[in-house]
């Protein structure tokens, strides 16, 4: 019996940002994201309290997908971060922290949202044009003649996730694999037919739990899972046979011989008439016959192959692989040039066949896998990255980090530049726009139609937000400093700054007594000693000390020892998303919720 309940009217919230509950939730979310940030970030355990899987992570993608909020504003921000991540994979936490920080600063400053939005927009433009400048001080060129900067990029991504639990050697190994895999997927020469276009290959990741991290490896071609029983004795001969290329047929349709594709409904079979199952099997065997006469040597199917057909093919020396799964189909198509056949009732068209150069059985960890070697050029390169780790939690985090590293490396093909990591880009950029904004405040205020004091307030909030991101790298009670010459970020661990007692609020540290300041800045570009020019002075972050950053001239012949590099493309977009999202949230006047 259905019951009619009166429809509740929608709930309208006026200026949601002024609600304490909303603010509390936003602060909580901001704390969660901030505490995850960087190589010393804290992990979060996410589970559903009814014995479900426990996710331990500090990766924004995994975290934001798992955690949901009932607050519409938070949902909005989460969705935009996830959207950014789906396009660039990197800088998710950065986007979140910056966005929340901007909102927070505007609220604290007491600026009217409309004014703040205008100022934020203008400052974003200043930032983007600064980052796009040829001589931007926080940008370095990615040199494709050596692996150095690619390795640094990859290692920065991988080392930023503590849940991977890697030793230094393991980090190096995995970063090397990530770069290796990336290089393998860049094809040599042009793609035939379209000389001005390059089609990148792809990396397939295979993860194996319980093995040594250093057993992780990259193989050109594809590794396909084959259950032990499926490797027929004759397969070993096939895999050992001399050089190919071998012809390959690929099916996406189930060859299990069942009647499921006829859909629902009952079937009436006349007694004495042949069994429909047998008829289908005959059809399948005809297909097998054709494959054998066409000299197919590798026969693959996304789904199940009828055992009788498998048996027939084995008897004729064909290597059979079933249950590939949908994820592998596209890579196989890309590598072998085969067309996935979705029909078995008609003969296989000759152009559907693909090629592999050879195959062999590889033992990876505890698993036996079939290795399909790619045919020579011009097929785009497909490679397999086998990742091993000691337990599932760390393996998942490592897998996500590697995929992120691959994406970041790919982005360098479009823009062969990278940004200084370790918070240096943020402090440098903050110093730059602070300096520029202060000197040009009068004109900027006039053009935006706001008062100069409002503009300076907005500018201050914006710069502080950027520096907050750099500060978020610190989790253990340490402090962040910025040097007054280059405006790079220097992090001082907890307890160290106390004994010297020379950190002066608002004033620079005296040179020479900075025993507690690390030897290099966050990104590793600026060294404390052994550097030409004047001695460095420091001030704590967020103290608004007027400083004009001098871009560090990087000698063309000496490669700087950069420790951390961030993706330029991803960070630029993250900056835009964060500012625009903050503006959208500030602009929201009413939230109308349907509570039915």
């Amino acid at each position: 019996m259905s019951r009619v309940t009166k429809k509740a009217s929608s709930v309208c919230t006026d200026s949601p940002l002024s609600m304490s509950e909303v603010c509390r939730k936003m602060t909580l979310m901001r704390q969660i994201l901030t505490s995850c940030f960087g190589p010393n970030g804290r992990l979060k355990q996410v589970h559903n309290n009814v014995g479900g899987h426990v996710l331990t992570t500090s990766t924004s993608t995994s975290l934001l997908q798992a955690v949901s909020s009932s607050e519409p504003l938070l949902k909005l921000i989460t969705a935009s971060i996830l959207n950014h991540l789906s396009r660039f994979s990197d800088c998710g936490l950065y986007t979140g922290i910056l966005c929340f920080s901007l909102i927070d600063h505007v609220q604290k400053s007491g600026l009217r949202p409309s004014v703040a939005i205008k100022i934020n927009k203008q400052l974003l433009e200043v930032c983007t044009s600064f980052l796009n400048q040829e001589d931007c001080g926080c940008k370095v060129n990615v040199d494709f003649n050596s692996c150095q900067s690619l390795m640094t990029l990859a290692r920065s991504v991988i080392s930023s996730k503590p849940a991977c639990v890697l030793t230094e050697g393991e980090q190096q190994h995995i970063s090397m694999l990530a770069v290796h895999a990336f290089l393998l997927t860049v094809p040599c020469g042009d793609t035939p037919g379209s000389p001005d276009r390059v089609r990148l290959g792809r990396t397939v990741t295979v993860s194996i739990e319980g093995q040594f991290v250093l057993d992780s490896a990259v193989f050109p071609g594809l590794l396909v899972n084959v259950p032990d029983m499926q490797l027929h004795p004759t397969d070993s001969e096939r895999t050992r046979r001399g050089p190919g290329p071998f012809r390959l047929a690929l099916f996406t349709v189930s060859l299990s011989g069942d009647l499921s594709e006829f859909g629902e409904g009952s079937l009436e079979v006349h007694c004495g008439a042949p069994d429909p199952e047998d008829l289908i099997l005959d059809e399948l065997l005809k297909l097998g016959e054709q494959a054998v006469t066409d000299q197919v040597e590798v026969f693959m199917c996304q789904r199940v192959i009828h055992p009788v057909l498998q048996h027939y093919l084995w008897r004729h020396g064909v290597l059979v692989v079933e249950r590939l799964g949908i994820a592998l189909i596209q890579p196989i198509v890309q590598m072998t040039g085969a067309q996935a056949v979705a029909l078995y009732q008609t003969p296989i068209p000759p152009e559907a066949y693909g090629q592999v150069k050879g195959c062999c059985v590889r033992t990876v960890g505890s698993r036996k896998m079939l290795h399909l070697l790619p045919p020579g050029e011009p097929a785009p390169a497909v490679c397999t990255m086998v990742l091993c780790h000691r337990n599932d939690t760390m393996l998942n985090e490592l897998k996500a980090a590697c995929q992120r590293a691959e994406h970041v490396l790919r982005l360098t093909l479009r823009d062969p530049v990278a940004l200084l990591g370790g918070g240096c880009t943020e402090t440098h950029m903050a110093a730059y726009i602070n300096n520029k904004g202060t000197t040009e405040a009068a004109e900027a205020a006039v053009s935006l139609g706001v008062s100069q004091s409002q503009y300076l307030l907005g500018l201050n909030g914006f710069c502080s937000s950027l520096e907050t991101v750099a500060l978020a790298l610190e989790h253990d009670g340490g402090t962040g400093l910025v040097d007054l010459t280059y405006a790079h970020h220097w992090s001082v661990p907890q307890g160290e700054a106390i004994h010297s007692g020379t950190v002066l609020q608002g004033e620079g540290l005296q040179p020479g007594d900075g025993g507690e300041v690390p030897a290099t800045c966050g990104c590793g570009l600026v060294e404390r000693s052994g550097r030409p020019g004047p001695e460095l002075e420091w001030t704590p972050l967020n103290t608004r000390y007027p400083l004009r950053p001098a871009p560090l001239v990087v000698g063309k012949d000496t490669t700087p020892q950069l420790r951390v590099l961030d993706s330029f493309t991803a960070k630029l977009n993250a900056l835009q998303v964060a500012v625009e999202m903050a503006n959208v949230v500030l602009d929201i006047r009413y939230v109308i919720q349907d509570v039915n």
Binding site: Q45, S236, S266, L267
Partner: protein, 633 residues
């Protein structure tokens, strides 16, 4: 639905990990105390004495418990040994980490110092590891070991103790030479493993080693189980053409068969496989003795209704007919006739089925003197496929001449019919040239079966890892003692450093503190080992260990007395056999397994230590209202 956030600034997780690990403290060492786990709701109970079984049976509601379980099961799956050590160390090190936090050491410092400490210790342990060629009865003239370099643990063998002093020296020299060879051998082995061209698992090669002696060294008190393992090696070597000597051991060619009801001394090792049959079927076997038979292998069920995996059965197919079926033959009859004809045509005498076999067909076959055996393990089928040349098929109707395997012997092994249970006979089926060996484990206490099986596999894998590593670590706590000593040495050296060096950025100001706490963890391990051995109380144990460490630093090496002490049997009922007492000084541990267990324990601690927040998803915010330390997102 929102998410709930629990902030864990108090590091409850580390305490939970310590508490969980404490459950398994009594499993450490050779004298294991069983635990009885009872489920209040169902009344079910089980007897356990290994760490991974405990976790398997516990209802782990906390997220840390689940994380620990995940790690332990993954370790067990790969190594089949060392899970107890893993959880123990995770427990003591999480206590160490907690203490570090109390002392105000920051998390990055704890993490870096602890992983550095482990790296240092693993390096030192690796350097004192003993090549398996050196683990043999070596006589020494005076009982005090003469030490130069690697084997710190030349032990006196009471049996050959006083034979000849010259012989001992010669022996040692020879083994040194062998050591260099073995390294090369190792390298080749590893390269091979990466690109296995063939499909067949290979036995771990063990040229020039004394398997029975090695087995004794890693038996860890499971003498009975280990002697079964040695027996396996003997049979495998024989099949391999190595004669009577123990030359090879392949853990992949090993299956266990558990038979409750018989007493434990009936456990034994047989070539081929052992299968339980009904008395009726067994009577057929009586006629099949002493001949070679033909075999087929069915991968799936042997029934008309069975379809292969992935086949979606359509239920609504109806048969329509326009005339009355007078013969009354069903589809199943047709199928049965078909199968039987195929089997007879191909002269098949034995059908091994992975799944279940249709009872009617089994009966029919029996009347034609064809034995159908159901529920055969996949490992066994695989071995038969390799050794008899039979090709496994899914449907019996698929069978043809080339699928038939040859030269299989079958014999009755033992009547296992209990007084009340169904009459059953254990039958031994052996393929020609097979390397497959079955270990029959028997016990009169049914609930001990699982424990026996776990114990046996533990022994088998310890031997396997020994042969694979070709290196062993001194056991009975000696390796741990060395770790403690190593860390203490580093603490001392660190203290003597110039203040400037200490201030260096690379240096960790709290390194010494963390090292000390980490070393205490290992001390805890050794003392628990001693406590469990029944030799002394925990306090006495600490005193003894500290005394040992002093001697050790004074230039003396770890001597056998220490490990004797560990295993001295003071219990009144004399739980230890004289055999065990004799071997007390010669206990060894697997190197790779131990290192991995330590590493994984530290992983677990790090994951929990670095977690600051627990997020529970899918909870109605109203449920948690009013709870402190819980926030709603």
């Amino acid at each position: 639905m929102g998410s709930t956030i629990i902030s864990q600034r108090l590091h409850v997780g580390l305490q939970q990990l310590t508490a969980l690990a404490a459950v398994t403290h009594s499993f450490l060492g050779p004298n294991k105390n069983h635990k009885f786990i009872q489920d209040e709701s169902t009344g079910e109970s089980s007897l356990v004495c290994t760490c991974f079984r405990v976790l398997e049976h516990l209802d782990l509601t906390c997220s840390v418990g689940q994380l620990a379980n995940e790690t332990i099961q993954a370790h067990q799956k790969v190594f089949h040994s060392g899970a107890g050590c893993l959880l123990f160390m995770a427990g003591v090190w999480s206590r160490a980490a907690l203490e570090c936090l109390h002392r105000g050491i920051s998390i990055p410092h704890i993490v870096s110092a602890m992983s550095e400490g482990l790296d240092i210790c693993c390096e030192v342990c690796r350097s004192i590891s003993v090549s398996i060629e050196d683990v043999r009865p070596v006589a020494s003239d005076s009982g005090t070991p003469v030490l130069q370099g690697s084997p710190h643990t030349v032990l006196r063998n009471p049996v050959t103790g006083m034979n000849s002093s010259h012989g001992a020296l010669n022996n040692k020299k020879q083994s040194r030479i062998k050591l260099t060879h073995s390294r090369h051998f190792c390298a080749n082995d590893k390269a091979d493993e990466n690109t296995t061209p063939g499909l067949f698992s290979h036995a771990v090669s063990s040229k020039g080693v004394d398997i029975p002696h090695l087995a004794e060294a890693v038996s860890h008190g499971c003498v009975a189980a280990m002697s079964l393992v040695v027996e396996v090696s003997k049979i495998q070597s024989k099949n391999n053409g190595s004669g009577d000597s123990c030359r090879t051991f392949d853990v992949n060619k090993l299956v266990t068969c558990t038979l409750p009801g018989l007493s434990e001394d009936h456990s034994c090792v047989l070539p081929g496989c052992v299968i339980l049959l009904s008395a009726e079927q067994a009577s057929l076997v009586h006629h099949m003795k002493e001949q070679k038979w033909q075999v087929v292998l069915i991968n799936g069920d042997l029934s008309e209704k069975y379809r292969h995996l992935g086949f979606n059965n359509k239920n609504d197919i109806s048969q329509v007919t326009d005339k009355l079926d007078l013969k009354g033959l069903s589809k199943e009859d047709d199928w049965e006739d078909n199968v039987l004809t195929t089997l007879l045509k191909n002269n098949v005498n034995l059908v091994l089925v992975n799944g279940e076999a249709s009872e009617r067909l089994t009966q029919h076959c029996m009347s034609h003197r064809i034995l159908v055996v159901e529920r055969v393990k996949p490992d066994i089928l695989k071995d038969f496929a390799e050794t008899t040349g039979a090709v496994p098929v899914t449907y019996a109707t698929q069978l043809s001449k080339h699928c038939v395997g040859t030269r299989v012997e079958i014999s009755i092994w033992r009547d296992c019919s209990g007084n009340r249970r169904r009459a059953s006979m254990a039958v031994n089926i052996v393929a020609d040239r097979t390397a497959l060996v079955t270990v029959v484990l028997t016990t009169s206490v049914h609930s001990k079966l699982q424990t026996l099986e776990d114990c046996f596999w533990g022994c088998a894998y310890r031997l396997h890892h020994t042969l694979k590593d070709r290196k062993l670590l001194p056991g009975a706590g000696k390796t741990e003692l060395l770790c403690v000593q190593t860390l203490q040495k580093h603490i001392k050296d660190n203290g003597e450093q110039t203040p400037q060096a200490k201030q260096g950025r690379a240096g960790n100001p709290h390194r010494a503190d963390v090292f000390q706490l980490m070393a205490d963890g290992w001390m805890d391990y050794i003392s628990t080992l001693m406590l469990n051995s029944g030799t002394c109380s925990k306090v006495d144990a600490w005193t003894t260990i500290n005394q040992q460490l002093k001697d050790f630093n004074g230039g003396l090496s770890l001597d056998a007395n220490f490990s004797r002490l560990l295993l001295r049997d003071d219990t009144e009922d004399g739980m230890m056999s004289p055999n065990m007492k004799r071997s007390a000084g010669k206990v060894y541990d697997n190197m790779t397994v131990k290192f991995e267990a330590w590493r994984k324990a530290l992983d677990l601690v790090f994951l929990v230590l670095q977690t600051d927040t627990e997020i529970i998803t899918g909870i109605d915010p109203k449920q948690v209202e009013g709870q402190s330390n819980v926030m709603v997102l």
